[in-house]
Amino acid sequence: MKALWQNYRKNKLAQGIFLLLYIGITSLSLYLAQKSVTAFLLLLASLLLLYFTSFKNVTKWLIAGVVLVILLPFTASNGDGYQSYMEVATLVGIYISMALGLNVVVGMAGLLDLGFIAFFAVGAYSYGIFATAQANHFMPFGHYPLSGESFWIFILIGCFVAALFGILLGIPVLRVKGDYLAIVTLGFGEIIRIIFNNLDRPVNITNGAMGLPSVTPPSLFGIDFLYPSQFYYIVLIILVFTIFTVRRFEHSKIGRSWKAVRENEIAAQAMGVPLVKTKLMAFAIGASFSGMMGVVFAAKQAFVDPTSFTLLESITILVMVILGGMGSVPGVILGAAVMTILNLQVLTEITNWLNQLSTSGAISIPDALSPSKMQRMIFGLLLILFALYRPQGLLPAKNRKYDQKLLQKGSKEANGDSLREQSPIENAQEV
């Protein structure tokens, strides 16, 4: 068995065949058995399998692209569950993006942020206010709601405004460290939510607790974006942008500064890392992804109200980051996907199934223990079990490994590409 496994690890062809087979079968089963959530999830899991293969990065991206852009929507589109699958996939994308943003702050720069959802709220409200008639209440000029074409500009505006809020939060935060930082950010998140909840007077800006209904759907060339299957592509594009940016940042100078600050602030400062700039960058960049997704979220839900931005949401995103593995981009992606799918689809399906069993009389469950109410409990149990048995996260972060001999031999050619040739397996893992 072990030998077989070793062989498999080394043999790219075998990996390719297995992957192809896997994707083929799951796609086919999703295509044929539309109601099977399992098939949908297994098809998504093929990306995980892909991650563990030892192909080149470009190949991996290409395969992932084919699966996500073509295969997944196409095979799911056959039946009734289409929009439902796409809704889940869209939300997964939104959460992954947010978790990646938080990962920059918590995982890379080591700044514990408990009020991260505030930036999401800022993004959502910046589109929500101007894409409904709400802005008429306080804007002296212009006619609202704005048309759906403005959505694309608002993605940028949301990104910018959230980054601004990130810096605004960052400035006072620079003075505090560790757990004090956590409580300051927590306070900040709550302040933002309470203000949004109460800003219907003296001037009605956010419409308070009543929320903003009928947000204009985005439109492009006269086509309105109404269905999750359409938002899926918007989210996918932003997500790819996010992953790309985060990966670039991670291995750039600023990324190394973040890690230095995380490991030891004083030592980093002594080595010439500018603390203020580094921390502010982390906050601004982390927040900006959240802001963009906030805009998308507002447009997708067509309704914004303060109940979507509670402290519990901040904690949920933090749990995604920790569960996946702090500082590890693939880990965080996996963590966010697992948490979202678990909460939105798997637990709902399980409770429905149990419910059906108990109504048909196969098993009897007392009413207070009705499975439809147990989601919180199952969720809690899972968190405990995961933390106990997999505390370093699902896919722990790895630092890029450099071959010392190679470095000594010629530092000129010792860049990432030549390393990749040397030890494909090690490099593949830290992707």
Partner: protein
């Protein structure tokens, strides 16, 4: 390495299982239709079953379930199997929308009973509209729920802009309140109701001494009540639900605030009396529910509910019951109009909107072009002693 290996095994295992399940799944659905000789009609409920508002969500679900069980035989005779699918929206708009997509995906679901929170109902109904699934709400009173011109959205309860003014009318004309202090809970429901009340009370000439918000989930409201005590109003209005309302009544009386307290339908629950105890005296509520303990059907409902679930009825259980009644009436009409064949969702949607003069336990139902109930009435109750339900002292109709 071990981790990856187990992952690979897990994935391949899952694959095998899925193929197996897929095979079973398709054969099962065939078998299902053959066995009962009829087709399955599912009706979903979407209410909060966990979290802070779970009592109410549960009450709506159980009420709906009871009606569904009662009507099962009738539909069996028509050749259909009725099934209830409860969903938990957790009072969270995201979850509500995701569930709505799941509901949309299940072609057997023809109608939805829900939601409790207007903040969840509004985004979710956008999804129902796309799938043409009719939604009948047992509890949403926010004005925007029906004014967006959706064909699928209906409700059996009165809107805030009807209930609030009815309360104001009672406060100013019957209770002779000149100076009113308003407290609200900063939720969509509480704010909407309190704003509507405030507007109407001002136009009737009452002076509003204060308009303060509290935080849902807290238990100590002495700060706001100190303000009330120093302003010395003739009436306190609370826009919110019973959990906070009961505590406010109790703490106000402990502070020596002896003026009448008026609240909305969210306070209409036996738990209010349980929480406030003796302090509940001299409290008034405007409710959308008629006195169900007086009528024959009402008594029967309360008894059989108790017998079936071993629980006392909450005000919302009867809403759930009637909502399900309207939904089933609509489906029945649609089936009949379709020559006893399975109706489409669009047909059911139009049939539900077209329901005329349905007599429920609680209220009579006919929908207008927005989906609002023409017969929605506001009843005014007074707590003369610490006993639930309270005494009916007046009613206002549209």
């Amino acid at each position: 390495m071990k981790w990856k290996k187990s992952l690979a095994i897990l994935l391949s295992g899952g694959l095998a299982a899925s193929i197996f399940l897929a095979g079973c799944g398709s054969s099962k659905s065939d078998g299902n239709e053959g066995k009962s000789g009829g087709k399955v009609i599912k009706i979903a409920t979407q209410t909060p079953l966990s979290g802070g508002s779970a009592t109410i969500g549960e009450a709506i679900k159980l009420g709906a379930q009871m009606k569904l069980d009662e009507e099962k035989q009738k539909f069996k005779d028509l050749g259909f199997d009725l099934q209830l699918v409860p969903y938990d929206d957790q009072s969270d708009p995201k979850k509500g929308v995701a569930n709505a997509q799941l509901i949309g995906a299940d072609k057997a679901i023809l109608a939805v009973v829900g939601h409790f929170n207007s903040g969840v109902a509004i985004p979710s109904s956008e999804v129902y509209e796309k799938y043409a699934i009719p939604m009948v709400s047992p509890a949403n009173s926010a004005v925007e729920v029906t004014t967006r011109g959706l064909k699928t959205v209906n409700r059996i309860v009165a809107r805030d802009d009807f209930q609030g003014p009815a309360g104001a009318e009672f406060a100013v004309n019957t209770l002779k309140a000149k100076k009113i202090f308003i407290i609200q809970d900063k939720t969509a429901y509480g704010t909407g109701l309190a704003e509507a009340f405030k507007k109407a009370a001002e136009s009737k000439g009452a002076e509003i001494l204060g308009f303060e918000g509290i935080t849902v989930g807290e238990k100590d409201f002495n700060g706001v009540l100190n303000q009330v005590a120093s302003k010395k109003p003739d009436l306190v209005y609370f826009g919110g639900i019973y959990a906070e309302g009961g505590l406010i009544i109790k703490q106000a009386r402990e502070k020596g605030i002896k003026v009448p307290i008026l609240g909305g339908d969210g306070m209409d629950a036996s738990t209010l009396v349980e929480i406030a105890g003796e302090a509940v005296k001299d409290t008034y509520i405007t409710s959308l529910a008629g006195d169900s303990s007086k009528s024959e059907e009402g008594k029967k409902f309360i008894e059989s509910y108790k017998a079936k679930f071993n629980k006392n009825t909450e005000s919302y259980s009867v809403y759930g019951y009637d909502t399900m009644g309207v939904v089933l009436k609509g489906i029945e009409d649609a089936i009949k109009a379709n020559n006893n064949k399975m109706p489409t969702r669009a047909q059911v949607r139009d049939a539900v909107r077209g329901v005329k003069d349905y007599q429920g336990v609680l209220t009579k139902v006919s929908f207008d072009e927005n989906g609002d109930n023409n017969y929605a009435k506001v009843f005014i109750y007074s707590f003369k002693e610490a006993k639930y339900p309270a005494e009916l002292v007046g009613e206002v109709s549209k």
